[in-house]
């Protein structure tokens, strides 16, 4: 829990990017989660040139975050550098590192909270939820030139939360069983009282008033207490998309960053009308649909008063943002997403297919690690 209030919004370069990935630390013997984050970080011989490698809430997680970059290529270079650094140090400590939104079969009571005031505070506040929060997400930061722009973009990106969930879904297994969800990770996040979507807000002063209200009610003390799907991040001058599962490959993580950047540019350029009040009524339902069915979700449209297949709306959206992607120089990074929509395999389907092949989840995690590191 943060004790900081709301900071001034720090303007950043338009559409600059930053990516955070929460990764799993697994035993190389049986591929169950292992406790190794503190030891891995203590042994790190790394100058920070590609970004940061940090502790997360439990000892079985680690977070990598890129430098702020103007281009997706910059993000790709940072993520590749961070991956290579982790590969080297993981091997030295005999710790496996892999992607995916959940570990398929770990036993959450065995998790240990990382040392540190913040993590201990979270554990005291949320109890066992903090240990169950051993789930792994990708956060994408998009730079905004003003605070008002950030609030508008937060609302605009909120409509596309199901798309981010479906494209990144990589957590079908929980507690050793197939959850039937494409992204079961977000169910762990939903248990937190301040999770969910950002309420309808018009501009930065509106956001400040809302935040002061939450503060006055004693609900939130800092921006970190808001576990919103998309939230403004004043100290970075960004909007942060927080709903993606950590993909199984770096390439998919880069593709999602390219999607976020291109979509943000398209939204800011075309400024579509936002039905924020109406959207608030369907947001939870749409999120559930995307988590449960992935690209096969039926998304409720509060303006058209109908449901539409997500796959059907995403294809034209990707076409629409292609021009912006071209301008940003990241069109080629959208290919994995286009392939998925054209009938290719997403991460959740890949995990299920590997499980069918092996008949056990240990081998699935082993291959997941190989996939991230190749």
């Amino acid at each position: 829990m943060s004790d900081k209030g709301l900071e001034n919004f720090k303007e950043s370069a338009p559409l600059s990017l930053g990516v955070e990935l929460e990764l799993q630390l697994v035993s190389r013997r049986d591929f169950d989660l292992t406790r190794g984050a503190t030891d891995l970080l203590d042994s790190l011989d790394y100058d920070g040139r590609f970004g940061e490698i940090k502790l997360e809430i439990t000892e079985s997680m680690i977070e990598i975050s890129t430098q702020a970059q103007l281009t997706v290529d910059g993000i790709a270079a940072d993520l590749a550098g961070l991956r290579d650094t982790l590969r080297q140090h993981g091997e030295r400590n005999n710790i496996g590192i892999c992607g995916g939104g959940t570990h398929p079969f770990h036993h959450w009571p065995e998790r240990r909270i990382c040392p540190g005031e913040r993590f201990n505070g979270l554990y005291q506040r949320y109890g066992y939820l903090a240990k169950q929060f051993t789930v792994f997400g990708q956060h994408i930061h998009v730079g905004c030139t003003s605070a008002d722009e950030a609030i508008w973009l937060t609302q605009a990106l909120g409509v596309h939360v199901p798309a981010f969930i479906a494209l990144s879904a990589s957590s079908p297994f929980v507690d050793g069983v197939d959850s039937l969800y494409q992204s079961a990770r977000l169910n762990a996040v939903s248990a937190f009282p301040l999770s969910g979507q950002c309420p309808p807000l018009n501009d930065w002063p509106d956001f400040c008033r809302h935040f002061e209200f939450l503060q006055a009610c004693g609900i939130a003390q800092g921006i970190k207490d808001l576990y919103w799907d998309v939230r403004p991040k004043p100290e970075f001058g960004t909007v942060e998309i927080r709903v993606c599962d950590t993909p199984l490959s770096i390439e998919q993580a880069i593709a999602l960053a390219a999607f976020a950047q291109s979509l943000s540019r398209w939204l800011l350029r075309t400024r579509p009308a936002l039905q924020t009040e109406r959207q608030a009524h369907v947001a939870r339902y749409n999120k559930f649909q995307a988590c449960r069915y992935g690209l096969d979700a039926e998304i409720s449209d509060p303006s058209g008063l109908c449901r539409q297949p997500l796959r059907q709306t995403l294809t034209p959206l990707l076409e629409a943002i292609s021009e912006d992607a071209g301008e940003l120089g990241c069109l080629h990074w959208l290919s994995p997403l286009k392939n998925m929509l054209a009938g290719g395999t997403g991460d959740a389907a890949w995990l299920r297919e590997r499980f069918r092949q092996h008949g056990n989840l240990n081998d699935v995690v082993r291959e997941t690690g190989e996939r991230l590191m190749r």
Binding site: R28, D39, N360
Partner: protein, 422 residues
């Protein structure tokens, strides 16, 4: 003592046998299953009591039970009963050695120069310093000094594995304690085989035995272990991964290897250790990689440590022998701490020293190795190997606590710490 207690019952029984023809003669020895059950219950009660009241590792309780009820103290567990229970002890030690063999992660060792440096330093420094201590300070002959060093240089795989399991420990210190123990065991087995030849050469002029006995031990263990591993993988491949059937196949093949090793007079600990190593090295399709020993192996482990406790020669204890054993343990501890401190690497010095503390246990493997060598020439062997046996006897009681201390100081013990059979 037990005879005295049973005398009235025997008299009553004998008088009954004369009239009741269906009664068997008064049993002269305890049935093996009854013995197993008694050893189990006695060890279990003392281990659990010490763990619950003093937070001591349960292994210490099992060993204490053996010491108290064994030939050295109350004598309720006789020497004959010990011999009768030996197959159970072999099976228990065999299964634990199989597990340690499977944990020998050579790939990690080759990928981490500091770790390789540390393990090599631990092996060589431990052997050299113990050998020098036994030769020059205790005054043993070179052959028996080498035997002493071979027997005591490595950590105790059974104690280390059970303490880690009991503490539910996980982390770098834990993993390195296991690796050092596995590598140390491998090195001590090599030294053990060489020492067999040296002892033959020194005590008899029979060069044939001096050359062929070590070869028989190594080649026999390799062949039997290899056969066990091959058979286990071959059968397990036809079964679903991680199924109970695979667990049974693994145990059955391990017990087969134990049995054949006993028939061929090849050391069980070496055979099963090699079976574990070969199993891990040849299991390219991960057939048995995720198949763990069932919780039931605690059952056998309890009996193993009660037997080890009862086998310790406390009746021969003298203060001089005790001081010599203490000196050996101090030299050994210094060697291990120095090796870990010198090795450097990514793990901080404080944690490396905790690894050094964690690998101090000395137990069943050392005791069995000592008796194996002593058995070659019983008239001199038993007294010549008093030193390692007393060192093991002392470490039986301190070693598990030291291992436990290292794990808890490193902060790697699991929440609730409810491992083992509790």
């Amino acid at each position: 003592m037990i005879e005295r207690l049973l005398a009235p019952l025997r008299n009553v029984w004998d008088s009954l046998v004369e009239r009741l023809f269906f009664l068997p003669p008064f049993p002269e020895s305890i049935d093996s299953l009854a013995l197993f059950s008694l050893l189990l219950v006695v060890g279990l009660l003392i281990g659990e009591w010490l763990h619950a009241h003093a937070r001591w590792p349960k292994v210490i309780g099992y060993v204490l039970a053996g010491i108290v009820f064994g030939p050295s103290a109350l004598g309720w567990i006789s020497i004959e009963a010990l011999a009768q229970a030996r197959p159970i002890a072999d099976a228990a030690l065999g299964l634990l050695m199989l597990e340690v063999g499977r944990r020998l992660e050579l790939k990690w060792l080759w990928g981490n120069a500091a770790l390789l440096r540390g393990t090599l330093a631990d092996i060589s420094l431990s052997f050299v310093l113990i050998f020098a201590f036994a030769l020059w300070l205790v005054g043993l002959s070179p052959a028996w000094a080498a035997a002493t060093a071979a027997v005591t240089m490595a950590s105790a795989p059974a104690v280390v594995l059970l303490t880690i399991e009991e503490s539910r420990a996980q982390g770098q210190v834990t993993e390195r304690i296991i690796l050092h123990t596995a590598i140390g065991s491998a090195a001590s087995f090599v030294a053990f085989a060489v020492v067999l030849g040296i002892v033959h050469a020194e005590l008899s002029a029979d060069w044939l035995n001096a050359i062929l006995h070590p070869l028989w031990v190594v080649a026999g263990a390799l062949l039997v272990g290899g056969l066990g591993a091959w058979l286990a993988l071959r059968i397990a491949r036809t079964l679903p991964k991680r199924s109970l059937a695979q667990v049974f196949v693994l145990i059955a093949c391990a017990l087969l290897a134990v049995g054949i090793a006993r028939m061929l007079a090849v050391p069980v600990f070496l055979t099963l250790f090699l079976m574990g190593v070969l199993l891990a090295a040849t299991d390219r399709q991960q057939t048995l990689r995720y198949t763990d020993l069932p919780e039931g192996h605690w059952l056998l482990a309890i009996v193993l440590f009660v037997i080890v406790g009862a086998s310790l020669p406390w009746q021969d204890f003298t203060w001089v022998a005790g001081l010599q054993a203490l000196g050996l343990l101090l030299v050994r501890a210094t060697a291990k701490a120095a090796a870990l401190a010198w090795s450097g690497g990514s793990l901080p010095l404080s944690k490396r020293l905790l690894v050094g503390v964690g690998i101090q246990p000395l137990s069943a493997t050392a005791v069995f190795m000592a008796y194996e060598i002593a058995g070659l020439y019983p008239e001199v062997g038993r007294s010549a190997l008093t030193l390692p046996l007393f060192a093991a006897a002392m470490m039986e009681l301190i070693g598990p606590a030291l291992c436990r201390l290292a794990l808890s100081r490193s902060g790697e013990c699991g929440a609730g710490d409810k491992g083992g059979i509790a």
